[in-house]
Amino acid sequence: MQDLGISLLFKGSNMARLFGGLWVTVQISLIAVLLSIPLGILFGLFMTLKHPAARLVSRVYLDFIRIMPQLVLLFLVYFGVTRTFGVNLSAWTSAILVFTLWGTAEMGDLVRGALISIPRHQYDSAEALGLTRLQTYTYIIIPQTLRRLLPLAINLTTRMIKTTSLVVLIGIVEVLKVGQQIIDANRFDYPTAALWIYGVVFFLYFFACWPISLVSKRLEKRWR
């Protein structure tokens, strides 16, 4: 009987290997996201400063990160830094570094946007009611900022998870690469393997990102 590609999934430790690959993907994105959130909040606050030097620095940083494709950033850090400065960064460290730099820039811009979108009269009316500055931030400004920020931050997280597939190109074996390896190794025995394996990879990404999207949708509904 012509063997179906699907049985390849259950051959040897293929399934476990794919999950292992997914774990690498999730680990890189999770560490980068966890670092990006606090750094992004700080960067966002920094961006709201009126000082010209602060504006220039944040403008240059944000534009640099945004204009560069993530892949170029990865190459720049992984190959460039090693060549130029003789610092030997592992692929893993480079990936985390690049995704944190990127996440911080994007997160910072979201934080800045959320902060400046709170209208002036919200501060005024809180102040007119006799609330102190601390109370104004605690009860009025921060809750509103979070409501605007959270759905956007969650979308950024899913984008980061998806973009980690680029780390293959600096030699990290993550879920997509594991899939490719399985397909290549079984090219002759299972000609239809690509469909099945990539199909599974699709679902793995889907199940990593979907719950996060669901949470974001729910929050948006509840808070808008």
């Binding site: 102040e127 007119a128 006799g130 009860y139 509103q144």
Partner: protein, 258 residues
């Protein structure tokens, strides 16, 4: 209204950069008096109100409430602010809180009143302005007029001694203006001291004990409403009142030409 002076402002000067917005304002408001501030846009009406409750720092001059100086330093200012209620032109309710929470936030957090007592008073006040059934709604579910009535209740719940109204009906649809003005009329009848900035001339005439006309950051004219509207003393005030009958005159002229 009695003869006690409740709010006294003397020589208020406020500059934004090189522009002098308030150029030496002297103002006395008696207890229970309703003072209406009129003037063309940009004359400094809103800035005057913002200075009176310390949202803007004055460049010189003094403001006293019940004989006590209002200064811009932290703790003292917060205590004074509780005595001054303010309602703004833009809907300034907190969008993430229900109407009841909007109203009770400051009484609970600033005045440290028990939640139950604050809520009870809030509900009574909401009842009076016809919004009791909206107590658990969010601001976005209310019409503009309802939001402004809720904002008035929020200020009232702090038991202010004086209320400032900054063009509270300017952003409303015409049919909603009435319901807000009715609430203000009722407050005036109860003897609350009020300073009102408005563009509703009919309303100003009906509610005011005294009219103050502001132009170029100075008080140009100060008189009883009947006198101000029927026989304004200054050319500037005549011109200002003239702008409100402009449409009628121009259409009459047009019909003559046709």
């Amino acid at each position: 209204m009695d003869s006690t002076i409740q709010l006294q402002a003397s020589g208020i000067v406020k500059r934004f950069g090189s522009e002098t917005v308030l150029d030496g304002i002297d103002l006395q408001v008696h207890r229970g008096e309703v003072l209406v501030v009129l003037g063309p846009s940009g004359c400094g009406k809103s800035t005057l109100l913002r200075c009176l409750n310390g949202l803007e720092r004055v460049d010189s001059g003094q403001i006293a409430l019940d004989g006590e100086q209002i200064t811009a330093d932290g703790a003292h200012m917060a205590r004074m602010r509780q005595k001054i209620g303010m309602v703004f032109q833009s809907y300034d309710l907190f969008p993430h809180k229900t109407i009841l929470d909007n109203i009770t936030l400051a009484p609970i957090k600033v005045q440290h009143r028990p939640r139950r007592e604050a809520e009870q008073e809030a509900e009574e006040l909401l009842h009076r302005v016809g919004l009791w059934e909206k107590r658990d709604a969010y601001p976005r579910q209310l019409s503009g007029g309802q939001k402004q009535r809720a904002a008035i209740v929020r200020a009232l719940c702090m038991h202010p001694e004086i209320m400032l109204f900054d063009e509270v009906t300017a952003a409303l649809d015409p049919e909603m203006v009435r319901e807000v003005l009715d609430v203000m009329l009722e407050l005036a009848q109860q003897g609350l001291t009020m300073i009102i900035v408005t563009h509703e001339m009919q309303f100003a005439r009906a509610i005011a004990d005294r009219i103050v006309f502001l132009d170029g950051g100075r008080i140009i004219e100060e008189s009883a409403p009947e006198q101000f509207f029927t026989a304004p003393q200054t050319p500037r005030a005549k011109e200002f009142l003239g702008t409100f009958t402009f449409t009628k005159r121009s259409t009459e002229q047009n019909s003559v030409i046709i």
